[in-house]
């Protein structure tokens, strides 16, 4: 259990960048009852349980929040949102943390961000997912030869069963979703 002391002092509160501010506002009614943790099917894999993560968010512990694996492990099943006695949008809050994590380029979240990025890039290029290309991109981005080796047995099994193909999928139109993605990027910039 981490034992670092948390300081709630007048000075740190003011200098802290207010990146968690909107989230705190959304979650302020939280009573730390733990229903989210008990609902969460991935909780045992998380370093902080959801309840503990929300508590840290509310106390403005930005560093700790973003260095935790918790939000990266959220599989968005929405069970916690359904069950929260306060009716808080917990799954949405997890998504917000994922976005913030990517934006802040948090080291712990980088593999996830790259994974999602590769996925989307593949979709952008073909209008659907091309598994081989998706994984290739991911491996290149990760710059770690151990990762492709780790995935090799799985890849071979999938190849044998014909689940993936080494040949790129021939799409009729090149980059069919470009416009769509551009529009999203534009909207994000506006925000």
């Amino acid at each position: 259990m981490p034992s670092a002391e948390i300081s709630l002092t007048i000075n740190t509160q003011e200098t802290e960048e207010d990146i968690l501010g909107p989230l705190q506002e959304e979650l302020s009614a939280c009573i730390q009852c733990g229903t989210c943790t008990a609902s969460c099917r991935n909780a045992q894999l998380m370093d902080f349980t959801p309840r503990r993560l929300w508590r840290l968010v509310l106390m403005g512990q930005t560093e700790e929040v973003f260095h935790s694996k918790t939000f990266a492990l959220c599989s968005a099943c929405y069970y916690c949102t359904l069950r929260c006695p306060r009716g808080l949008p917990l799954t949405d809050a997890m998504n917000t943390l994922k976005q913030l994590g990517a934006k802040k380029n948090v080291a712990e979240y980088r593999p996830n961000a790259r994974f999602y990025g590769s996925f989307l890039e593949s979709v952008r290029r073909h209008g659907r997912i091309n598994e081989m290309e998706f994984m290739r991109r991911y491996f290149i981005l990760m710059k770690n030869p151990a990762i492709p080796i780790k995935f090799t047995p799985l890849g071979i099994r999938l190849l044998r069963k014909g689940k993936i193909s080494i040949f790129p999928d021939k799409s009729k139109t090149e980059r069919p979703l470009d416009q769509f993605f551009q529009r999203v990027e534009e909207l994000e910039r506006q925000q």
Binding site: I6, T9, Q13, T35, R86
Partner: protein, 1149 residues
């Protein structure tokens, strides 16, 4: 007994309603006590044990002064009071008028059983073929359509549940007294019009209804129906919703224009149920879903027939109305139902659990699983189900569930001899009343486990035999197996709260409860209408009883002000023979119960043996005392008989308790000289023995019962009860809000009040309070109250004064009031202590070593005088329960959490950038205060729970440190993240609770006691919360226990009501069953004085004798037991008489 003009209506006969009714009845008003259930007692009928005593004790509501006014018996069985008219199975449908002259319409639901004839034998229920869920046992068992509403209630009259009865008539012939009225002749007069476009539906309905004897006509379309209605009057129309041509809803509207009194039941297919529900708003009485089932259709038709044809309407003229209609409970099957209620039979609500372990419950008090009847080993209580849950729209606390769970857990452990493991899963343990913290500590010590968390879900275990409970604690998620899960379901507003709100233009709060006016718990925007008990939010018994007293006080004042006099209306004084010097001469009358008794006993032998007693003049038989004929015959027999005592032997004797007066009047005897006893019993000898032996056994039984009663009758105390003159004025000590309220309430009834205040100004703690958490203006309340006190000619205010001495007892107190210069004497009938309380002292958390550490009171005054500027602060911390809720001050002060929230919200409102931290043990935001807790969270106030084992640590900087340094450093542990937290705050506010101020030197003179923490000790915490065991001494406000302003006002009104009751008569009559001292035998050892719980004994300074105050004595007999030479005896029930009764009871077996 003295009666006063004026009457009141009390709606709801639960604890609150009963308390209000008894208060008003004792004061002399006529009270209509109405309940829609067929029995009185409300939810308390179903509960055998109450916290924190784990006993019942409801009988303590009965009058203790002038006890002979009401029957002194178990109140759960029934209530009989001369001034109370109980109307059960009845509803108030309309109230009009204003304070002093309300006109209420009462609708009496027919029960089809004549209560004057029914003797509760239960043969009808044996015969009844209809079985439905028993609501009394919370649906855990079944009962018949004809049933006894509560197993212990007396008289044990049966009633018919019209929503289940099929009118098969099987019960009618088996009733030995012919009490069931199910006449078929009148059905022909009940005209029903069936409107449906389908011939088959019309025909089948006609056949069915005509078979039952109703007149049925048919119409095939809406137009045809309206035509029939214009030419003929009908009682009931069954109307199809979907017809070609005119639609059902349009027909409904048109039909009601033609015959406004017509009852219309819509018939609908499943698809159009919504339309049918809508049509109820248009005026339909109900709806039926096709296809019909005979078993469910007929009860509905009969309900209309009985209600419409025979149900009685009655107009009640009353001066004031008290609404004590109670509340409903959350249905956990509603919504998501994550706890599996209704799916797993072993998941029950707390009410079902109470029935489960009740001796009169479905399992006879054995603790077993409802699913398979096997013993329970492990029980979980799940708190806050439908409370403190925004998802079920319940941003409130239900106030009682924590304590009821603790109680139930203790009971479960007691029943099982400590074998059952009990775990309470709770969020905050709300032990906010004076004795509750101690009770919780005791429970934990006895092995009740408390686990702080919210349970996630309940599911069946893998082998389906047990329940798996999933929850999270600070270590993570767990799954544990239990046999039984008890859901502490939250409160919901009473079904008819909305009706009352419309009827009387009363306000509802955001959750649908009737809302009182600011600073009151009982008075409403409508003068003369008051709220009692849970109708304004669920409360425990203590609170309910106090509120009931306050409501009664308001009602009494309203009646009084509108001309209802408190002067005694002279009643013809007892025109009875003085028989105190006559030899006992008993007339015994035995009811032969429609000859049912004759084959069981040897009547001739019995009569011979009874008449052998020289004090029995005659022993008669009468057939069927329960029938009007039998009763009249008995009264006739009494006339002209030269007897001085009458003994009636019947069944269900308690049913006749209220008719005793009729008998005594007919015989010209005091009521006391008439006794009615039960000779029937359930264990008539039956078995292998010969008929002769059986008869012998049964006769012996009846004989012993009769002889026992005769021996008792011989020894009754017939001396006229002592009457004591009363000083019709009151002394109120303490001029805070409680004292002023009590004084105003008493003066409002026209009695003089001496109000003694030790400081130079009235107001007490209100002088430094500004606003309450709900934003009400305290200063305005204070100013208006002070001016009302000063302008009231009946209130004599003594400032800078103290009560130097007090002598005497109830009715006749003499006090010396010392104002520093001179002493005044005051005579008064009652004494009310409203001496208040102060903020608790502390030296903890660096208090006193830095100006940055202050108490809540100092914060409140500081912010009022501008010393505390929220804009100049950036961080404020608050610590709750400072030196409270742990020995030596082991009680919760109830208001500190609310004060902390009030201050925190104020700071956030003034300076949104400020950081506020509240360190708490359990947030006591009971009832609707919970919403402020939610608000505080939403505003970003941070809460840290701490435990008494790991309290926060505070470092206070040196006073001469540089000004830039942060002020106070607080270190605590956050259990959620499991880490140490350091808070640097400009200000640390400590909640140190409340300590009482009681005039210690006066307490022994008043025979009043002080509890372990220095508060006034109530006669009984729950049932008699504002008075002392010594009659005539009351307390209210903080002297009683920590409470908020509105709660102090309510306690003051409740105390005033009880006080007014005692001084409203010129004299009080003592009970007859009291202790007397035989001075010739008394050695003056004074042992009796130390054991008397009521302080009823004192030494006469002149003669040196021990005297008994007849008003204070309750006849408990403790003195008679301890007296070494039997100098003290009870005026009724001396040793000799007792021995005689015991001999008679044992008899010749």
């Amino acid at each position: 007994m003295a009666r006063k003009s004026g009457s009141a209506l009390v709606i709801g006969a639960g604890i609150s309603g009963i308390r209000s009714a008894i208060d008003l009845a004792e004061t002399g008003y006529h009270v209509f006590l109405v309940d829609k259930a067929p029995h009185i007692g409300g939810i308390l009928e179903q509960l055998d044990h109450q916290f924190p005593t784990n006993r019942c004790g409801m009988c303590k509501l009965l009058p203790a002064v002038e006890p002979d006014q009401a029957s002194q018996q178990c109140l759960r069985r029934g209530l009989f009071h001369d001034n109370i008219e109980i109307l059960t199975a009845a509803e108030i449908t309309d109230i009009s008028g204003e304070a002093g002259s309300f006109c209420a319409t009462l609708h009496q639901h027919p029960t089809l059983v004549d209560p004057n004839r029914c003797m509760g034998c239960g043969e009808c229920a044996e015969a009844c073929p209809v079985e439905v869920k028993d609501i009394f046992n919370a649906g855990l068992s079944t009962r018949k359509a004809i049933y006894r509403p509560a197993p212990q209630s007396l008289p044990g009259t049966y009633v018919i549940d019209l929503s289940a009865c099929t009118h098969c008539g099987q019960c009618v012939p088996v009733c030995p007294t012919g009490a069931i009225r199910m006449a078929t002749a009148d059905r022909q007069k009940f005209k029903i019009l069936v409107v449906d476009d389908e011939l088959i539906v019309r025909d089948s309905l006609r056949a069915l209804l005509a078979d039952e004897g109703f007149s049925v006509e048919m119409a095939e379309s809406g137009e045809a129906a309206l035509e029939r209605l214009t030419s003929d009057a009908f009682h009931l129309m069954l109307l199809d919703i979907k017809m070609p041509g005119m639609e059902g809803v349009d027909v409904l509207k048109a039909a009601l224009e033609i015959q406004p009194e017509l009852q219309v039941v819509m018939m609908t297919a499943y698809a159009t149920i919504e339309t049918a529900v809508e049509s109820i708003k248009t005026g339909a009485a109900d709806y039926l879903v096709k296809p019909f089932e005979e078993a469910s259709l007929l009860p509905q038709i009969y309900r209309f027939y009985e209600e419409g044809g025979n149900g009685g309407q009655r107009i009640l003229d009353v001066g004031a109305v008290i609404i004590a209609a109670g509340c409903r409970y959350f249905d956990p099957a509603e919504g998501k139902d994550v706890f599996g209620y209704g799916i797993y039979p072993d998941v029950v609500t707390h009410l079902e659990f109470e029935r489960l372990i009740s001796g009169t419950g479905p399992f006879g008090g054995r603790l077993v699983k409802p699913s398979d009847g096997r013993p329970v080993q492990k029980i979980a209580w799940i708190q806050c189900v439908g409370s403190r849950d925004l998802q079920t729209d319940s941003d409130f606390c239900s106030s009682i569930c924590c304590m009821s769970a603790v109680k139930e857990a203790m009971l479960a452990r007691a029943i099982s001899g400590g074998q059952v493991e009990t775990v309470i899963f709770y969020m905050d343990m709300r032990v906010f009343e004076k004795p509750f913290q101690q009770y919780l500590d005791d429970a934990k010590r006895s092995g009740v486990q408390c686990q702080r968390c919210r349970v996630h879900s309940v599911s069946a275990s893998e082998d389906k035999a047990r329940l798996t409970i999933r929850y999270v604690d600070t270590d993570g998620a767990h799954e544990a197996l239990f046999d039984l899960a008890v859901l502490s379901v939250g409160q919901r507003p009473a079904e008819n709260a909305e009706n009352f709100s419309e009827m009387l233009e009363l306000e509802l709060n955001p959750w649908g409860y009737l809302a009182p006016r600011p600073f009151s718990l009982t008075s409403t925007a409508k003068p003369g209408v008051f709220l009692g008990g849970a109708v304004a939010g669920l409360t425990d018994i203590n609170d309910a009883v106090i509120r009931a007293g306050a409501a009664a006080c308001g009602a009494s004042e309203a009646i009084h002000k509108s001309g209802g006099s408190l002067e005694a209306v002279e009643s013809a004084d007892d025109q009875v023979r003085d028989i105190s010097r006559e030899e006992p001469n008993v007339l015994v009358i035995i009811c032969t119960c429609s000859d049912r008794l004759k084959p069981l006993i040897d009547m001739d032998a019995l009569l011979d043996r009874i008449q052998a007693d020289p004090s029995v003049s005659q022993c008669l038989q009468v057939d069927g005392l329960c029938s009007p004929d039998g009763w009249a015959e008995m009264l006739e027999e009494l006339k002209g008989k030269p007897v001085n005592r009458v003994l009636l032997a019947t069944c269900a004797a308690n049913a006749y308790a209220h008719k005793r007066l009729e008998v005594s009047d007919a015989a010209g005897l005091p009521e006391k000289a008439v006794q009615i006893i039960d000779v029937f019993f359930s264990g008539w000898f039956a078995g292998d023995a010969s008929a002769k032996e059986q008869t012998h056994y049964n006769t012996g039984h009846v004989e012993r019962r009769l002889k026992f009663a005769i021996a008792g009758l011989k020894g009754i105390n017939l001396m006229p009860a002592e009457k004591i003159d009363v000083y019709q004025s009151a002394l109120v000590v303490g001029g805070g809000i409680a004292g002023m309220t009590a004084a105003l309430a008493i003066a409002g009834h026209g009695f003089r009040v001496e109000l003694v205040e030790k400081t130079g100004q009235l107001g007490g703690n209100l002088n430094w309070l500004n606003r309450t958490i709900d934003g009400a203006d305290v200063a305005e309340l204070l100013q208006s109250t002070i001016s009302r006190v000063n302008n009231n000619p009946l209130i004599n205010v003594h400032l800078n004064s103290a009560v130097a001495d007090i002598q005497g007892a109830i009715g006749r107190f003499q006090s010396t009031i010392d104002d520093g210069e001179s002493a005044h004497m005051a005579s008064h009938g009652v004494t009310i202590l409203a001496t208040g309380g102060v903020e608790g002292p502390t030296e903890s958390y660096g208090y006193g070593r830095s100006p940055a550490v202050m108490t809540q009171k100092e914060f409140e005054t500081g912010r009022a005088n501008g010393q505390i500027d929220p804009a100049a602060l950036s961080s404020v911390a608050m610590i709750q329960c400072v030196d409270c809720r742990e020995p030596p001050r082991n009680y919760c002060s109830r208001i500190c959490c609310l004060s902390a929230l009030k201050h925190a919200l104020y700071l956030k409102e003034q300076n949104p950038d400020i950081s506020v931290y509240i360190l708490y043990r359990d947030m006591m935001t009971y009832g609707f205060y919970e919403t402020y807790y939610t608000q505080a969270r939403r505003k970003g106030i941070t809460f840290f729970p701490y435990t008494v084992e790991a309290k926060p640590e505070v470092t206070v900087p040196e006073e001469n440190s540089s000004s830039g340094a942060p002020a106070v450093r607080i270190t605590t542990t956050d259990p959620i993240i499991g880490r140490s937290i350091q808070i640097e705050a400009d200000l640390l506010v400590l909640a140190t609770g409340i300590t009482p101020v009681l005039p210690g030197e006066l307490m022994p003179k008043l025979d009043a006691e002080v509890d372990a923490h220095g508060f006034f000790k109530e006669a009984d915490f729950k049932w008699r919360p504002v008075e002392s065991l010594a009659a005539g001494v009351f307390a209210c406000g903080l002297a009683l226990s920590p409470r908020s302003i509105d709660e102090s006002i309510a306690s003051a009104e409740a105390a005033a009501m009880r006080a007014v009751r005692m001084i409203s008569c010129q004299h009080l009559t003592a009970g007859r069953k009291i202790a007397v001292v035989r001075h010739s035998l008394c050695s003056g050892c004074q042992l009796c004085m130390s054991v008397c719980p009521y302080g009823a004994r004192e030494i006469d300074p002149e003669s040196g004798r021990i005297e008994v105050n007849p008003l204070k004595c309750q006849g408990c007999g403790a003195c008679a037991v301890i007296c070494p030479n039997s100098a003290t005896i009870l005026a009724e029930g001396s040793e000799m008489e007792m021995f005689e009764m015991i001999d008679a009871a044992l008899g010749s077996i």
